[in-house]
Amino acid sequence: MADVNGLRIADRKHIGLAEMLKGGVIMDVTNAEQAKIAEDAGAASVMALERVPSDIRRDGGVARMSPVKKIQEIQKAVTIPVMAKARIGHFVEAQILEALGVDFIDESEVLTPADEHFHIDKFAFRVPFVCGCRDLGEALRRIGEGAAMIRTKGEAGSGNIVEAVRHMRAIVSGIRRLTVLSPEELMTEAKNLGAPYDLVRWVAQAGKLPVPNFSAGGIATPADAALMMQLGAEAVFVGSGIFKSSDPAKRAKAVVQATTHFKDPDVLVRVSEDLGDAMVGIETSKLAEKDLMQTRGW
Protein backbone atom coordinates (compact mmCIF):
# COMPACT_ATOMS: atom_id res chain seq x y z
CA MET A 1 0.00 0.00 0.00
CA ALA A 2 1.23 3.48 -0.72
CA ASP A 3 0.35 6.99 0.07
CA VAL A 4 0.11 8.35 -3.48
CA ASN A 5 -0.98 11.97 -3.71
CA GLY A 6 -2.29 11.69 -0.15
CA LEU A 7 -4.47 8.68 -1.00
CA ARG A 8 -4.42 5.18 0.40
CA ILE A 9 -4.27 3.32 -2.90
CA ALA A 10 -2.23 0.55 -4.53
CA ASP A 11 1.58 0.80 -4.65
CA ARG A 12 3.15 3.00 -7.31
CA LYS A 13 5.03 0.01 -8.76
CA HIS A 14 1.71 -1.82 -9.21
CA ILE A 15 -0.12 1.12 -10.75
CA GLY A 16 3.07 1.49 -12.79
CA LEU A 17 2.68 -2.00 -14.29
CA ALA A 18 -0.83 -1.01 -15.37
CA GLU A 19 0.71 2.11 -16.97
CA MET A 20 3.11 -0.13 -18.93
CA LEU A 21 0.14 -2.01 -20.42
CA LYS A 22 -1.52 1.14 -21.79
CA GLY A 23 -2.26 1.22 -25.48
CA GLY A 24 -2.05 -2.56 -25.42
CA VAL A 25 -4.31 -5.59 -25.69
CA ILE A 26 -4.71 -8.17 -22.93
CA MET A 27 -5.96 -11.45 -24.39
CA ASP A 28 -7.83 -14.28 -22.67
CA VAL A 29 -6.06 -17.63 -23.15
CA THR A 30 -6.78 -21.11 -21.80
CA ASN A 31 -3.49 -22.85 -22.62
CA ALA A 32 0.17 -22.35 -23.60
CA GLU A 33 -0.51 -22.65 -27.33
CA GLN A 34 -3.06 -19.82 -27.27
CA ALA A 35 -0.72 -17.75 -25.08
CA LYS A 36 2.03 -18.07 -27.68
CA ILE A 37 -0.35 -17.04 -30.49
CA ALA A 38 -1.34 -14.00 -28.40
CA GLU A 39 2.27 -13.00 -27.70
CA ASP A 40 3.29 -13.46 -31.35
CA ALA A 41 0.40 -11.23 -32.37
CA GLY A 42 1.68 -8.44 -30.09
CA ALA A 43 -0.50 -8.85 -26.98
CA ALA A 44 0.85 -6.76 -24.08
CA SER A 45 -0.31 -9.41 -21.59
CA VAL A 46 -2.34 -12.61 -21.43
CA MET A 47 -5.12 -13.57 -19.02
CA ALA A 48 -5.09 -17.22 -17.98
CA LEU A 49 -8.49 -18.73 -17.41
CA GLU A 50 -10.10 -22.15 -17.39
CA ARG A 51 -12.69 -21.43 -20.08
CA VAL A 52 -13.30 -18.29 -22.13
CA PRO A 53 -16.42 -16.40 -21.01
CA SER A 54 -18.61 -17.52 -23.95
CA ASP A 55 -17.94 -21.18 -23.00
CA ILE A 56 -18.69 -20.45 -19.33
CA ARG A 57 -21.95 -18.91 -20.48
CA ARG A 58 -22.78 -21.91 -22.70
CA ASP A 59 -21.72 -24.71 -20.33
CA GLY A 60 -22.82 -23.21 -17.02
CA GLY A 61 -21.63 -24.74 -13.76
CA VAL A 62 -19.30 -23.08 -11.28
CA ALA A 63 -16.48 -21.14 -12.96
CA ARG A 64 -13.30 -21.11 -10.85
CA MET A 65 -9.65 -20.03 -11.00
CA SER A 66 -7.69 -21.67 -13.82
CA PRO A 67 -5.96 -24.96 -12.89
CA VAL A 68 -2.48 -24.31 -11.45
CA LYS A 69 -0.81 -26.47 -14.09
CA LYS A 70 -2.34 -24.45 -16.92
CA ILE A 71 -1.13 -21.21 -15.38
CA GLN A 72 2.39 -22.60 -15.00
CA GLU A 73 2.39 -23.79 -18.64
CA ILE A 74 1.31 -20.34 -19.78
CA GLN A 75 3.97 -18.65 -17.61
CA LYS A 76 6.63 -20.87 -19.21
CA ALA A 77 5.37 -20.21 -22.74
CA VAL A 78 5.54 -16.39 -22.79
CA THR A 79 7.70 -13.49 -21.57
CA ILE A 80 4.89 -10.91 -21.36
CA PRO A 81 3.03 -10.44 -18.03
CA VAL A 82 0.60 -13.22 -17.15
CA MET A 83 -2.67 -12.35 -15.42
CA ALA A 84 -5.15 -14.81 -13.95
CA LYS A 85 -8.66 -14.59 -12.59
CA ALA A 86 -9.81 -15.24 -9.02
CA ARG A 87 -13.44 -15.40 -7.94
CA ILE A 88 -14.89 -12.28 -6.29
CA GLY A 89 -14.08 -12.52 -2.57
CA HIS A 90 -12.03 -15.72 -2.96
CA PHE A 91 -8.88 -14.50 -1.24
CA VAL A 92 -7.39 -17.99 -1.11
CA GLU A 93 -7.49 -18.33 -4.89
CA ALA A 94 -5.73 -14.94 -4.86
CA GLN A 95 -3.13 -16.24 -2.39
CA ILE A 96 -2.45 -19.18 -4.71
CA LEU A 97 -2.09 -16.88 -7.71
CA GLU A 98 0.28 -14.66 -5.72
CA ALA A 99 2.39 -17.69 -4.73
CA LEU A 100 2.48 -18.73 -8.41
CA GLY A 101 3.98 -15.35 -9.26
CA VAL A 102 1.09 -14.22 -11.44
CA ASP A 103 1.76 -10.60 -12.47
CA PHE A 104 -1.80 -9.25 -12.09
CA ILE A 105 -4.86 -10.83 -10.43
CA ASP A 106 -8.28 -10.13 -11.96
CA GLU A 107 -10.93 -10.37 -9.24
CA SER A 108 -13.50 -11.15 -11.86
CA GLU A 109 -17.26 -11.24 -12.25
CA VAL A 110 -16.72 -13.72 -15.12
CA LEU A 111 -16.11 -16.42 -12.50
CA THR A 112 -18.80 -17.51 -10.05
CA PRO A 113 -18.59 -15.22 -6.99
CA ALA A 114 -17.31 -16.82 -3.77
CA ASP A 115 -18.64 -14.07 -1.49
CA GLU A 116 -21.98 -12.30 -1.87
CA HIS A 117 -21.02 -9.27 0.21
CA PHE A 118 -17.29 -8.63 0.23
CA HIS A 119 -14.45 -8.25 -2.24
CA ILE A 120 -10.84 -9.21 -1.51
CA ASP A 121 -8.70 -6.87 0.64
CA LYS A 122 -6.22 -6.18 -2.12
CA PHE A 123 -3.78 -4.31 0.13
CA ALA A 124 -2.91 -7.64 1.76
CA PHE A 125 -1.10 -8.83 -1.40
CA ARG A 126 2.30 -8.27 -3.01
CA VAL A 127 0.86 -8.46 -6.52
CA PRO A 128 -1.54 -5.98 -8.14
CA PHE A 129 -5.26 -6.46 -8.80
CA VAL A 130 -7.57 -5.38 -11.58
CA CYS A 131 -11.33 -5.24 -10.92
CA GLY A 132 -14.37 -4.70 -13.09
CA CYS A 133 -16.86 -1.87 -12.70
CA ARG A 134 -20.00 -0.50 -14.31
CA ASP A 135 -19.98 3.03 -12.93
CA LEU A 136 -17.84 5.51 -11.01
CA GLY A 137 -19.02 4.41 -7.55
CA GLU A 138 -18.05 0.80 -8.19
CA ALA A 139 -14.70 1.87 -9.67
CA LEU A 140 -13.87 3.96 -6.59
CA ARG A 141 -14.92 1.20 -4.17
CA ARG A 142 -12.51 -1.19 -5.89
CA ILE A 143 -9.70 1.41 -5.96
CA GLY A 144 -10.39 2.04 -2.27
CA GLU A 145 -9.89 -1.70 -1.65
CA GLY A 146 -6.52 -1.50 -3.40
CA ALA A 147 -7.13 -2.25 -7.10
CA ALA A 148 -4.21 -0.97 -9.20
CA MET A 149 -6.24 -0.98 -12.42
CA ILE A 150 -9.93 -0.69 -13.27
CA ARG A 151 -11.64 -2.18 -16.27
CA THR A 152 -15.20 -1.55 -17.30
CA LYS A 153 -17.10 -4.84 -17.21
CA GLY A 154 -19.18 -4.82 -20.36
CA GLU A 155 -20.86 -8.19 -20.73
CA ALA A 156 -18.22 -10.90 -20.99
CA GLY A 157 -18.67 -13.61 -23.61
CA SER A 158 -21.41 -11.69 -25.42
CA GLY A 159 -19.43 -10.41 -28.42
CA ASN A 160 -21.70 -7.36 -28.08
CA ILE A 161 -20.03 -4.02 -27.40
CA VAL A 162 -23.13 -2.20 -26.14
CA GLU A 163 -22.59 -2.94 -22.43
CA ALA A 164 -18.90 -1.96 -22.57
CA VAL A 165 -19.91 1.34 -24.17
CA ARG A 166 -22.57 1.94 -21.52
CA HIS A 167 -20.10 1.33 -18.69
CA MET A 168 -17.30 3.43 -20.18
CA ARG A 169 -19.68 6.32 -20.83
CA ALA A 170 -21.00 6.03 -17.25
CA ILE A 171 -17.47 6.29 -15.82
CA VAL A 172 -16.34 9.12 -18.08
CA SER A 173 -19.48 11.20 -17.52
CA GLY A 174 -19.38 10.39 -13.77
CA ILE A 175 -15.85 11.80 -13.61
CA ARG A 176 -16.79 14.87 -15.65
CA ARG A 177 -19.75 15.53 -13.35
CA LEU A 178 -17.52 15.46 -10.25
CA THR A 179 -15.22 18.10 -11.70
CA VAL A 180 -18.01 20.71 -11.83
CA LEU A 181 -19.39 20.14 -8.31
CA SER A 182 -18.60 22.62 -5.56
CA PRO A 183 -16.67 21.40 -2.50
CA GLU A 184 -19.75 21.29 -0.26
CA GLU A 185 -21.52 18.97 -2.72
CA LEU A 186 -18.81 16.29 -2.66
CA MET A 187 -19.70 14.54 0.62
CA THR A 188 -23.29 13.94 -0.45
CA GLU A 189 -22.04 12.86 -3.86
CA ALA A 190 -19.71 10.36 -2.14
CA LYS A 191 -22.71 9.04 -0.20
CA ASN A 192 -24.78 8.72 -3.36
CA LEU A 193 -21.98 7.01 -5.26
CA GLY A 194 -21.23 4.69 -2.33
CA ALA A 195 -17.58 5.68 -2.76
CA PRO A 196 -14.80 6.78 -0.37
CA TYR A 197 -14.88 10.55 0.17
CA ASP A 198 -11.11 11.01 -0.22
CA LEU A 199 -11.20 9.36 -3.64
CA VAL A 200 -14.25 11.37 -4.72
CA ARG A 201 -12.46 14.59 -3.75
CA TRP A 202 -9.27 13.51 -5.54
CA VAL A 203 -11.12 12.64 -8.77
CA ALA A 204 -13.08 15.93 -8.61
CA GLN A 205 -9.76 17.82 -8.61
CA ALA A 206 -7.81 15.63 -11.04
CA GLY A 207 -10.58 14.93 -13.55
CA LYS A 208 -9.41 11.32 -13.88
CA LEU A 209 -9.12 8.11 -11.86
CA PRO A 210 -5.93 7.62 -9.80
CA VAL A 211 -5.31 4.27 -11.60
CA PRO A 212 -5.50 3.33 -15.31
CA ASN A 213 -8.94 2.60 -16.75
CA PHE A 214 -9.18 -0.20 -19.34
CA SER A 215 -12.15 -1.70 -21.16
CA ALA A 216 -13.44 -5.29 -21.26
CA GLY A 217 -16.50 -7.37 -22.06
CA GLY A 218 -17.77 -7.66 -25.62
CA ILE A 219 -14.86 -6.57 -27.85
CA ALA A 220 -14.96 -8.79 -30.97
CA THR A 221 -13.54 -6.67 -33.82
CA PRO A 222 -10.73 -4.14 -34.42
CA ALA A 223 -13.45 -1.49 -34.72
CA ASP A 224 -14.80 -2.42 -31.26
CA ALA A 225 -11.31 -1.98 -29.76
CA ALA A 226 -10.84 1.40 -31.45
CA LEU A 227 -14.32 2.50 -30.34
CA MET A 228 -13.49 1.81 -26.69
CA MET A 229 -10.15 3.63 -27.03
CA GLN A 230 -11.86 6.67 -28.55
CA LEU A 231 -14.39 6.63 -25.71
CA GLY A 232 -11.57 6.92 -23.17
CA ALA A 233 -10.27 3.40 -22.48
CA GLU A 234 -6.49 3.33 -22.02
CA ALA A 235 -6.14 -0.31 -23.17
CA VAL A 236 -8.48 -3.22 -23.93
CA PHE A 237 -9.11 -6.76 -22.74
CA VAL A 238 -10.31 -9.19 -25.40
CA GLY A 239 -11.81 -12.42 -24.15
CA SER A 240 -13.81 -14.78 -26.32
CA GLY A 241 -13.47 -12.39 -29.29
CA ILE A 242 -10.13 -13.79 -30.45
CA PHE A 243 -10.17 -17.53 -29.89
CA LYS A 244 -13.86 -17.88 -30.81
CA SER A 245 -13.26 -16.29 -34.22
CA SER A 246 -12.40 -18.21 -37.40
CA ASP A 247 -8.76 -16.98 -37.61
CA PRO A 248 -7.48 -16.11 -34.09
CA ALA A 249 -3.88 -15.19 -35.04
CA LYS A 250 -4.97 -12.77 -37.75
CA ARG A 251 -7.73 -11.22 -35.63
CA ALA A 252 -5.36 -10.86 -32.66
CA LYS A 253 -2.85 -8.95 -34.82
CA ALA A 254 -5.60 -6.75 -36.21
CA VAL A 255 -6.93 -5.86 -32.75
CA VAL A 256 -3.38 -4.96 -31.60
CA GLN A 257 -2.92 -2.60 -34.58
CA ALA A 258 -6.39 -1.10 -34.09
CA THR A 259 -5.71 -0.39 -30.41
CA THR A 260 -2.50 1.52 -31.22
CA HIS A 261 -3.87 3.34 -34.27
CA PHE A 262 -7.37 3.83 -32.84
CA LYS A 263 -7.66 7.38 -34.21
CA ASP A 264 -6.62 6.45 -37.76
CA PRO A 265 -9.52 5.15 -39.92
CA ASP A 266 -7.16 4.29 -42.81
CA VAL A 267 -5.30 1.86 -40.58
CA LEU A 268 -8.60 0.46 -39.30
CA VAL A 269 -9.67 -0.24 -42.89
CA ARG A 270 -6.39 -1.97 -43.64
CA VAL A 271 -6.44 -4.24 -40.58
CA SER A 272 -10.15 -5.06 -40.92
CA GLU A 273 -9.80 -6.50 -44.43
CA ASP A 274 -10.22 -10.24 -44.83
CA LEU A 275 -10.41 -11.15 -41.15
CA GLY A 276 -12.72 -14.14 -41.49
CA ASP A 277 -15.74 -14.53 -39.24
CA ALA A 278 -16.07 -12.79 -35.88
CA MET A 279 -17.50 -14.70 -32.94
CA VAL A 280 -21.28 -15.03 -32.99
CA GLY A 281 -22.66 -12.40 -30.63
CA ILE A 282 -25.59 -12.28 -28.24
CA GLU A 283 -28.28 -9.61 -28.02
CA THR A 284 -27.59 -8.70 -24.37
CA SER A 285 -30.96 -6.98 -23.86
CA LYS A 286 -32.55 -10.44 -24.34
CA LEU A 287 -30.44 -12.03 -21.61
CA ALA A 288 -32.29 -12.78 -18.36
CA GLU A 289 -31.05 -10.82 -15.33
CA LYS A 290 -29.75 -14.06 -13.78
CA ASP A 291 -27.59 -14.73 -16.87
CA LEU A 292 -25.77 -11.40 -16.67
CA MET A 293 -22.18 -11.48 -15.39
CA GLN A 294 -21.91 -7.70 -15.00
CA THR A 295 -24.30 -7.57 -12.02
CA ARG A 296 -21.85 -9.62 -9.93
CA GLY A 297 -19.83 -7.35 -7.62
CA TRP A 298 -20.89 -5.18 -4.71
Partner: protein, 205 residues
Protein backbone atom coordinates in the same frame (compact mmCIF):
# COMPACT_ATOMS: atom_id res chain seq x y z
CA UNK B 1 11.78 22.33 -28.96
CA UNK B 2 9.78 19.25 -29.89
CA UNK B 3 10.44 15.88 -28.29
CA UNK B 4 8.66 12.81 -29.65
CA UNK B 5 7.35 9.99 -27.46
CA UNK B 6 6.93 6.67 -29.25
CA UNK B 7 3.22 6.01 -28.64
CA UNK B 8 2.79 2.50 -30.04
CA UNK B 9 2.23 0.93 -26.62
CA UNK B 10 3.34 1.57 -23.03
CA UNK B 11 3.45 4.50 -20.62
CA UNK B 12 4.03 7.16 -23.30
CA UNK B 13 1.48 9.41 -21.62
CA UNK B 14 3.55 9.53 -18.41
CA UNK B 15 6.64 10.54 -20.40
CA UNK B 16 4.67 13.30 -22.15
CA UNK B 17 3.59 14.61 -18.73
CA UNK B 18 7.16 14.43 -17.41
CA UNK B 19 8.34 16.47 -20.42
CA UNK B 20 5.61 19.03 -19.78
CA UNK B 21 6.97 19.44 -16.23
CA UNK B 22 10.44 20.08 -17.67
CA UNK B 23 8.94 22.74 -19.90
CA UNK B 24 7.77 24.63 -16.83
CA UNK B 25 11.21 24.68 -15.23
CA UNK B 26 13.18 25.47 -18.42
CA UNK B 27 12.99 28.83 -20.10
CA UNK B 28 12.37 27.17 -23.46
CA UNK B 29 9.01 25.59 -24.18
CA UNK B 30 9.03 21.82 -24.66
CA UNK B 31 6.35 20.23 -26.77
CA UNK B 32 5.80 16.48 -26.35
CA UNK B 33 4.58 14.84 -29.57
CA UNK B 34 3.10 11.34 -29.79
CA UNK B 35 4.77 9.34 -32.57
CA UNK B 36 2.84 6.42 -34.10
CA UNK B 37 4.20 6.47 -37.67
CA UNK B 38 7.82 6.84 -38.88
CA UNK B 39 6.97 10.01 -40.84
CA UNK B 40 6.16 11.71 -37.53
CA UNK B 41 9.85 11.47 -36.57
CA UNK B 42 10.70 14.12 -39.16
CA UNK B 43 9.96 17.18 -37.06
CA UNK B 44 11.04 16.11 -33.58
CA UNK B 45 14.45 16.95 -32.09
CA UNK B 46 14.66 13.92 -29.81
CA UNK B 47 12.68 10.77 -29.02
CA UNK B 48 11.68 8.85 -25.90
CA UNK B 49 10.98 5.13 -26.21
CA UNK B 50 8.81 4.38 -23.16
CA UNK B 51 8.30 1.41 -20.91
CA UNK B 52 5.84 -1.19 -22.11
CA UNK B 53 6.22 -4.67 -23.51
CA UNK B 54 9.28 -4.91 -25.77
CA UNK B 55 7.79 -7.81 -27.78
CA UNK B 56 4.64 -5.76 -28.49
CA UNK B 57 6.69 -2.68 -29.39
CA UNK B 58 8.86 -4.72 -31.76
CA UNK B 59 5.83 -6.12 -33.63
CA UNK B 60 4.31 -2.68 -34.01
CA UNK B 61 7.65 -1.14 -35.06
CA UNK B 62 8.27 -3.83 -37.67
CA UNK B 63 4.76 -3.49 -39.09
CA UNK B 64 5.34 0.21 -39.85
CA UNK B 65 9.00 0.24 -40.93
CA UNK B 66 10.25 2.02 -37.82
CA UNK B 67 13.65 0.28 -37.80
CA UNK B 68 15.21 2.08 -40.82
CA UNK B 69 13.53 5.34 -39.77
CA UNK B 70 15.05 5.14 -36.29
CA UNK B 71 18.45 4.23 -37.73
CA UNK B 72 18.36 7.42 -39.81
CA UNK B 73 17.14 9.44 -36.78
CA UNK B 74 20.01 8.10 -34.68
CA UNK B 75 22.61 8.63 -37.44
CA UNK B 76 21.59 12.31 -37.60
CA UNK B 77 22.62 12.66 -33.96
CA UNK B 78 19.12 13.29 -32.64
CA UNK B 79 19.02 12.01 -29.03
CA UNK B 80 16.99 8.99 -27.93
CA UNK B 81 16.06 8.07 -24.35
CA UNK B 82 14.78 4.56 -23.58
CA UNK B 83 13.31 3.40 -20.28
CA UNK B 84 12.90 -0.29 -19.44
CA UNK B 85 11.41 -1.73 -22.68
CA UNK B 86 12.93 1.27 -24.48
CA UNK B 87 16.37 0.27 -23.18
CA UNK B 88 15.78 -3.31 -24.35
CA UNK B 89 15.05 -2.05 -27.87
CA UNK B 90 18.13 0.24 -27.93
CA UNK B 91 20.69 -2.25 -26.53
CA UNK B 92 23.36 -4.05 -28.57
CA UNK B 93 22.26 -7.48 -27.36
CA UNK B 94 19.31 -8.88 -25.46
CA UNK B 95 18.95 -12.09 -23.51
CA UNK B 96 16.12 -14.03 -21.80
CA UNK B 97 15.09 -14.58 -24.52
CA UNK B 98 17.40 -13.38 -27.32
CA UNK B 99 15.55 -10.97 -29.56
CA UNK B 100 16.17 -8.29 -32.17
CA UNK B 101 17.39 -4.91 -30.93
CA UNK B 102 18.51 -1.67 -32.56
CA UNK B 103 22.14 -1.68 -31.30
CA UNK B 104 22.32 2.08 -30.63
CA UNK B 105 24.13 1.65 -27.29
CA UNK B 106 26.85 -0.87 -26.47
CA UNK B 107 25.22 -2.66 -23.53
CA UNK B 108 24.00 -6.21 -23.01
CA UNK B 109 20.61 -6.52 -21.35
CA UNK B 110 18.75 -9.36 -19.67
CA UNK B 111 14.96 -9.05 -19.75
CA UNK B 112 12.79 -9.56 -16.63
CA UNK B 113 16.02 -10.08 -14.74
CA UNK B 114 14.70 -9.50 -11.21
CA UNK B 115 11.70 -11.82 -11.69
CA UNK B 116 7.99 -11.24 -12.03
CA UNK B 117 5.81 -8.38 -10.76
CA UNK B 118 6.03 -9.71 -7.18
CA UNK B 119 9.75 -8.85 -7.33
CA UNK B 120 9.22 -5.29 -8.62
CA UNK B 121 10.53 -2.63 -6.21
CA UNK B 122 11.33 0.99 -5.51
CA UNK B 123 14.66 2.44 -4.41
CA UNK B 124 16.42 5.72 -3.83
CA UNK B 125 19.77 6.22 -5.46
CA UNK B 126 22.19 8.78 -6.71
CA UNK B 127 22.99 9.69 -10.30
CA UNK B 128 26.04 11.51 -11.55
CA UNK B 129 24.63 14.10 -13.96
CA UNK B 130 26.65 16.99 -15.46
CA UNK B 131 29.41 16.04 -13.01
CA UNK B 132 27.23 16.47 -9.91
CA UNK B 133 25.75 13.76 -7.67
CA UNK B 134 21.95 14.03 -7.79
CA UNK B 135 19.44 12.03 -5.71
CA UNK B 136 17.05 9.99 -7.90
CA UNK B 137 13.85 8.05 -7.15
CA UNK B 138 13.82 4.71 -8.95
CA UNK B 139 10.81 2.50 -9.69
CA UNK B 140 11.77 -0.91 -11.10
CA UNK B 141 8.90 -2.85 -12.77
CA UNK B 142 9.65 -6.34 -14.12
CA UNK B 143 12.88 -4.57 -14.90
CA UNK B 144 15.77 -5.62 -17.12
CA UNK B 145 19.36 -5.65 -15.87
CA UNK B 146 22.32 -4.24 -17.76
CA UNK B 147 24.73 -7.21 -17.71
CA UNK B 148 27.51 -5.75 -19.85
CA UNK B 149 28.66 -2.17 -20.42
CA UNK B 150 30.82 -1.44 -23.48
CA UNK B 151 33.96 0.73 -23.38
CA UNK B 152 32.28 3.80 -24.88
CA UNK B 153 29.38 3.77 -22.44
CA UNK B 154 29.24 6.02 -19.37
CA UNK B 155 27.34 4.69 -16.35
CA UNK B 156 25.41 7.57 -14.77
CA UNK B 157 23.72 5.74 -11.87
CA UNK B 158 24.00 2.47 -9.99
CA UNK B 159 21.68 0.43 -7.84
CA UNK B 160 23.23 -2.28 -5.66
CA UNK B 161 26.51 -1.78 -7.57
CA UNK B 162 24.85 -2.48 -10.94
CA UNK B 163 24.42 0.12 -13.71
CA UNK B 164 20.82 1.36 -14.02
CA UNK B 165 21.30 4.60 -16.00
CA UNK B 166 23.78 4.80 -18.87
CA UNK B 167 24.69 6.98 -21.83
CA UNK B 168 26.65 6.61 -25.04
CA UNK B 169 26.75 9.79 -27.12
CA UNK B 170 23.20 10.74 -28.01
CA UNK B 171 21.59 7.66 -26.44
CA UNK B 172 20.41 7.55 -22.81
CA UNK B 173 18.92 4.44 -21.18
CA UNK B 174 17.41 3.57 -17.79
CA UNK B 175 16.32 0.21 -16.39
CA UNK B 176 13.88 2.05 -14.08
CA UNK B 177 11.00 4.50 -14.65
CA UNK B 178 11.74 8.17 -13.85
CA UNK B 179 8.45 9.05 -15.62
CA UNK B 180 6.44 7.43 -12.82
CA UNK B 181 7.82 9.83 -10.21
CA UNK B 182 7.35 13.56 -9.77
CA UNK B 183 11.11 14.03 -9.95
CA UNK B 184 11.98 15.74 -13.28
CA UNK B 185 15.80 15.40 -12.92
CA UNK B 186 16.44 12.75 -15.57
CA UNK B 187 13.98 14.15 -18.09
CA UNK B 188 15.62 17.55 -17.64
CA UNK B 189 19.01 15.96 -18.31
CA UNK B 190 17.60 14.44 -21.52
CA UNK B 191 16.02 17.74 -22.56
CA UNK B 192 19.44 19.36 -22.18
CA UNK B 193 20.95 16.65 -24.42
CA UNK B 194 18.26 17.36 -27.04
CA UNK B 195 18.76 21.14 -26.84
CA UNK B 196 22.53 20.84 -27.33
CA UNK B 197 22.13 18.40 -30.24
CA UNK B 198 19.55 20.68 -31.90
CA UNK B 199 21.88 23.68 -31.54
CA UNK B 200 24.74 21.67 -33.12
CA UNK B 201 22.55 20.56 -36.02
CA UNK B 202 21.36 24.14 -36.45
CA UNK B 203 24.94 25.43 -36.58
CA UNK B 204 25.91 22.76 -39.13
CA UNK B 205 22.95 23.49 -41.40
Amino acid sequence: MKIGVLALQGDFDRHAKALARCGVSRSEEIQAVEVRKPAELADVDGLIIPGGESTTLLKLMEAWGFVPALEKFHAEGRPIFGTCAGLILLARDVDNPRQFSLDFIDVGVERNAYGRQRESFEARGSASLEGRPTPVEMVFIRAPRIRRVGAGVETLAHHADEPVLARQGSVLVATFHPELTDDPTIHEYFCAMVARAAARRGAAA
